[in-house]
Amino acid sequence: MASYSTNEFKAGLKIMLDGEPCNVLENEYVKPGKGQAFNRVKIRKLISGKVLEKTFKSGDTVEGADVVDIDLAYLYNDGEFWHFMNNETFEQIAADSKAVGDNAKWLVENDVCTLTLFNGAPISVTAPNFVELEITETDPGLKGDTAGTGGKPATLATGAVVRVPLFVQTGEVIKVDTRSGEYVSRAQK
């Protein structure tokens, strides 16, 4: 794996730190007028998800992390693993609950998700920004109410709970923003 100098650090670069792959979020160049330059780098550890600041001597090198993002279609969950498939090669990859984490509630069959692989194994799964899911349970709500009144909780087919407007009912399919977990609209038929 290539090494990167602190001068090459920019948002999105994947590096190894304390044996863990990390994503560079920000890189601030700090330099006393007469003296050694430093880079104050904000990073996210990709496995633990922890965000931290680390200061490097400018010009120091750090090993890159063999981390790649690939787009795969979600197939099914067998109770232990979530299975994904490359739609072109039909190659399949299974991700465990550590990699899928909270995003399990946004996985919809056949949706194309982004899997982050470290040394070939999935460490995180990101659902598409928008998914469409059926409401399995929500209070009927009062007649005549319109959007804008704070809404009500609705449970979706995957178990996710989102706030929806009062006029949306059980059995309807809605569009949700997976980044914020917010209701967007009724699904377009």
């Binding site: 330099k31 006393p32 050694q36 680390k54 490097f56 001597k57």
Partner: protein, 328 residues
């Protein structure tokens, strides 16, 4: 950095309204010096010699000679200091300059590789008198209160409970490790690097937040072009100005001794050699001018872009320069 050319990349980094305010501040600076009979000068950006400082990286270009295969390497100045000192030695009296300076490998929120510098020299002043004058300029430009003054030793020991002048390298390493910098300092052999790390990470954020703060009498090992103190040779008569977490200016009670200057240049080049950095050609003209005689004087360099940024309450240097390097 090299942003791809997009629909909007021709546009200035700064708003036109900001550029107007910037121009007004520059006019105020010129007025400040006109009132004090300090002469505005211009010196070359290109030079045959350059800085040897191991942490300053100059840009190089070449001068071609028509009809000849020879080409002369030239350096873009990292500050106008050497040329201005030659003017002082030639009897210019007090002088100032607002010019472009160039530093490779410096780019970030508070850095642009090409930036505007205000530099001035006052024959007959020591560093304390010059701090006083810079303080007055700051109050006029930024509307801030009078600056606080602390020695390097006071500021450092107040924040870190260790005397930077007597601490040994292991003590400083321990301080850095306690603050989460174990990886960086584990193999560090240079005491100044440890001091600079601790100063940047711990002292700087704690000083000059409401009014500007001068730090003066730096450790002798960080003297640069300042003379050592007669009273305490462990420190150099050098100062820096900090305001709102940003380093704004660096000044010296200037070293006059040509031999000592030459020794420092050679030592810099020796350190460059040890760190696998290319050695740099020493500025012979400066040494000759010092030999001829530099008047007793103090000088200071101020980062104008940062000053404008602070005066106008912006948070990035790009906000106050017409085109930052990515769109230059």
């Amino acid at each position: 950095m090299a942003d791809s050319v997009s629909q909007s990349s021709w546009r200035p980094s700064a708003d036109i309204a900001v550029l107007k305010q910037r121009a007004a501040l520059l006019a105020k600076i010129r007025q400040f010096f006109a009132h004090r009979d300090v002469l505005e000068v211009e010196t070359p950006c290109l030079s045959h010699g350059t800085v040897t400082d191991q942490h300053l990286h100059s840009f190089t270009t070449v001068l071609s000679h028509p009809g000849s295969a020879d080409a002369t390497p030239l350096y873009l100045q990292t500050s106008p200091e050497y040329a201005m000192k030659r003017l002082l030695a030639a009897g210019s009296g007090p002088i100032y300059q607002i010019c472009k300076a160039f530093r490779d490998e410096e780019s970030g929120r508070f850095h642009n590789p090409e930036f505007t510098m205000l530099e001035w020299y006052r024959p007959g002043f020591d560093h304390h008198q010059l701090m006083q004058e810079l303080d007055e300029l700051m109050q006029q430009l930024c509307g801030c209160g009078p600056a606080e003054k602390l020695t390097y030793q006071q500021a450092f020991s107040h924040q870190l409970k260790v005397d930077p002048l007597t601490a040994d390298i292991e003590q400083l390493r321990q301080l850095a490790i306690e603050r989460g910098h174990a990886t960086l300092v584990r193999h560090e052999q240079d005491k100044d690097t440890l001091l600079q790390l601790l100063f940047c990470e711990v002292v700087e954020p704690a000083i000059g937040q409401t009014t500007p703060c001068f730090i003066y009498d730096f450790p002798a090992s960080q003297a640069a072009l300042a003379r050592l103190s007669d009273k305490d040779p462990r420190v150099a008569e050098r100062f820096e100005l900090y305001y709102k977490g940003i380093e704004l200016a660096n000044g010296f009670h200037e070293l006059q001794d040509a031999k000592e200057q030459q020794r420092r240049f050679e030592q810099d080049n020796h350190k460059r050699c040890l760190n696998n950095r290319p050695q740099k050609p020493v500025d012979r003209h400066l040494l000759a001018a010092l030999q001829y005689g530099l008047p007793d004087c103090a000088g200071v360099a101020v980062g104008v872009d940062r000053l404008v940024m602070l005066a106008l309450n912006h948070s990035r240097i790009d906000d106050v320069i017409s085109f930052h390097i990515g769109h230059a």
